[in-house]
Symmetry: C2
Subunit: 236 residues, 2 copies
DNA sequence: AAGTGGTCTAGACCACGCT
DNA sequence: GCGTGGTCTAGACCACTTC
């Protein structure tokens, strides 16, 4: 790999995670680190900026870089992650059932809801996620046929993100997300094991590629007891 | 103000928000900008990095910096914001009622729950938030007496964050947050206008100062229909 | 006063997109 | 090939903490 500052970031991050560098202690100074890694101070600063952004360290002017307790942040459900990645990370027995896979053209209502342009051709996909044997998530996806050609049921059963990034070589860049609690629809009641719960947690997101084109709109409907969202935020 | 790159960030961000620079268009090149603002390219790059992180632009190597549609991100409920700031931003008629204000010493159970050390002296505060006349949020705060001395009911009624930052001159730095849905407690039912809702959305957070000391643990309990969380995330 | 991180510079070379 | 952003450098000066 090329990037020096990323290699340095990974080295230090690894040593913090492994406990080699203790939480609460001070990192070496930027000058020391630039000698140790045989590089300029600005490059060290880039690596430390990444560590800071990921919640590994806190920097204090005149004092140094304090190592934070990463154990409580180690749970990055936040951000942009696919269901498959998440399930793997959590060590859950997870399963996906594709309930619907069809083509769809954007009309007025759908355009309002998804932010796709009128007449755009979409794949419409409904998938139920089974975690530890229970149907707890219903994902309703709308995906651009133009940007993501060649989708099929098999890919949807596995991982759409993997297909987009590995097979198509596209980069998923950013997403706008909205979380709120709603009444279950008949569809929710039918497809999910709601077991007397009176609400579902709905996560609506628009996902964009690196060139700023929107390729996906998703409505992810969770049984409330199985929903958890973890966040690490810095004050602006 | 001193920092050149922040002034440049604010100038460009302002022009994007005002529509002076259109969404979808390309920013001037970094070289052009460095001439325009009479500064080095690295300084321009720092300003653009901020614009990128705040979701104003997307950078594409070899092409330029594309201006994103900020209107849909403009709603930073995400991150670290006080109730007062949020209510002001949303233009709501909001009101806070302090239901409980007393001193508390951390025992085993409380230490588990809040992550404060044993025997630490805390302020324990319960506040109900009224929005447009309805009691929709119950905030249960635990705040370190050692770090935040001189708290009282009046301050809690107004804004604790304002007191910490303005009066005490401390910097709030980062928070770990967890969102989930739970059954309402008797206290919730008593203090909130739940109106037949069977769940509450609970946001648990630990908040830290710049020197990495934890000064606050909060459990914020929301009526589900009044809860919304908006997020802008980049793929790592 | 010494040591730390924060800002800024001017210049170099590389990787990528576009035409 | 040209123009764009991405990386890296070596050095300067400033602001802050600590002793």
């Amino acid at each position: 790999m090329n990037n020096k500052f990323i290699r340095i970031y990974e080295d230090i991050a690894g040593r913090i995670r492994s406990g080699d560098i203790e939480a609460g202690s001070l990192l070496q100074s930027e000058l020391d680190l630039s000698e140790r890694y045989q590089t300029s101070r600005e490059t060290i600063r880039k690596a430390l900026k990444m560590l800071y952004e990921e919640g590994y360290i806190q920097k204090i002017q005149g004092k140094g870089s304090i190592v934070l307790d990463i154990r409580k942040i180690d749970f990055p459900v936040s951000g942009l992650i696919s269901f498959k990645e998440l399930a793997q990370k959590m060590g859950h027995r997870a399963q996906t059932v594709v309930k619907l896979f069809e083509e769809q053209v954007v009309d007025q209502t759908l355009s309002q809801k998804t932010s796709f342009g009128l007449n755009e051709q979409l794949w419409q996909i409904n998938r139920v996620r089974k975690v530890d044997g229970e149907h707890v998530i219903l994902d309703k996806d709308y995906i651009s046929q133009r940007l993501i050609p060649g989708l099929n049921r098999e890919i949807c059963q596995d991982s759409i993100y993997e297909y987009v990034e590995q097979k198509l070589g596209l980069s998923i860049s950013y997403a706008k997300k909205e979380i709120l609690v709603e009444e279950p629809t008949d569809e929710d009641r039918h497809l999910l094991d709601l077991e007397g719960f009176h609400n579902v947690v709905v996560v609506r997101s628009q996902v964009y590629l690196e060139d700023t084109s929107q390729f996906q709109y998703t409505e992810s409907r969770h049984r409330p007891d199985k929903f958890i969202f973890v966040d690490f935020a810095r004050r602006k």
